[in-house]
């Protein structure tokens, strides 16, 4: 089984510091895989490596069975087939919400502007942003900005969505709207790889949970099992700490 995304033996170091030490991961079609783990465990780096925003040291990433980490593969073409949403939104501040969403389809994919705008309006409306199309990001709340960012990532009709702690920078009362948006995407069958600190959400939406520790996936499996009966001592310690902090 190859799945939409297949990561094999991926390693990545920054200088002397190994961040990923051999990651194997499979995201099947319509599947949602949650990556959990402490800050610095390598979740973000893994997503950035899969989107070819970072050069990897060893291993392979396969997208629809094709090795995309081969130097002969054009990274731009690969990124166009994946969508990424960042923790800090990274919307383009000089563009309106609509222009943020339209930019890639028009410039990168050559979609005609009227068509791209119609699609963008549909996406924005769907995430509760009808009427805000012409606002610049600074005029939107964090939750609204992140929903624009999700619409932007979907505008290129990606094969899979990479979500990098998309609610971590939000005020608690704004988290719900963003999670609802992702829940809906899951219901529609979007293939997703979700790095998250929201354990209840991971438990609810993910088909499989992977616990990352020190650049390795030390435990993976059914969300219910991981959260109720973790087997590995690292996972147990991590979950107990969250429980003590009232985050579980």
């Amino acid at each position: 089984m190859t799945g939409v995304l297949d990561v094999r033996g991926l390693t990545k170091a920054y200088g002397e510091r190994a961040v990923l030490r051999g990651i194997d991961l499979n995201v099947p079609e319509h599947g949602a895989i949650a990556l959990i783990g402490a800050s610095g465990s390598g979740k973000s780096t893994l997503l950035r490596c899969i989107d070819l925003l970072e050069e990897i040291d060893d291993g392979d990433v396969l997208l629809d069975g094709e090795v995309v980490t081969d130097p002969a593969v054009d990274p731009v073409a690969v990124r166009r087939r994946l969508g990424m949403v960042f923790q800090s939104f990274n919307l383009f501040p000089h563009l309106t919400a609509l222009e943020n969403v339209v930019l890639a389809p028009v410039r990168a994919q050559g979609v005609a502007r009227p068509e791209a705008e119609a699609h963008a309006r549909t996406l924005l409306a769907r995430f509760g942003l009808a009427g805000r199309e012409d606002d610049h990001p600074e005029r939107l709340s964090g939750g609204q900005q992140q929903r624009v960012a999700i619409a932007r990532a979907l505008a290129t009709r990606p094969r899979a969505l990479l979500l990098d702690e998309v609610t971590s920078a939000l005020d608690p009362e704004l988290v719900g709207d963003v999670l609802t948006a992702i829940r809906e995407l899951k219901a529609e069958g979007m293939t997703m790889l979700i790095a998250t600190h929201e354990m209840a959400f991971a438990r609810e939406v993910a088909d499989e949970v992977c616990f990352l520790h020190d650049g390795l996936i030390v435990e993976r499996g059914d969300p219910e099992e991981i959260f109720t009966a973790p087997r590995q001592p690292e996972t147990q310690r991590f979950l107990r700490r969250l429980l003590d902090a009232g985050r579980l």
Binding site: V76, L103, A108, A153, A155
Partner: protein
Amino acid sequence: MVVLGLLVTVVVTSEGWSNVRTTFFDPGDFADAFPAVLDGFWLDVQLFAIVEAAVLVLGLLVALARISRTPALFPLRLLSAVFVDLLRGVPTILVVYLIGFGVPALMLSGVPSDPLVLGGIALTLAYSAYVGEVYRAGIESVHPGQRAAALAVGLTENQTLRHVVLPQAIRRVAPPLLNDFISLQKDVALVSILGPLEAFRVAQIEAASNFVYTPLVAAALLYLCVTVPLARLLDRWERSRRR
């Protein structure tokens, strides 16, 4: 206001004021010299406009060369760094001198020898070094997350630069860029040392032939007519940005 009033009083009551008034601020001399100086000033304005346009383009190229990461572009990166160091490190008047008199002395065929053109080239080079650094500061001030987001949606490096990084960078450095405009508008007078009859040169000639300095004051006023509105424009721009 009080300081200004005091200053005016001191100047006007000074011993040499009557002399200064007749040599610097004579209405008759002013009226005589003004048309010729204005004519020369038109040349300044034209030269300014052409050089400024060239500087905006060349400065950007210098900045892009300096920030390039591709190993293959290393020679270009080195060249632009040397270019900036040299031209920023030498007084502009020397650059004008060296190019204005040095290039014709080489007697190369096909190379322009018109002092106005050479003066324009010298100013373009000198200012591109400054403006290149302004652009570079702007580009580097754009958060790396912007580049990551642009690449992630599938833009190429060039599209990322053009549609995401540069628009933000240029907006951010517009005030210092405009500041350099004002500075250039004044430094256009430096080509006078090569001989073209621009405002300062004309004023000098008028002044020397009549032993009065009023034509120079006329030239100064003309410069102010351009630089002051530019400065106000800059203020307004900054104010609207802060809002």
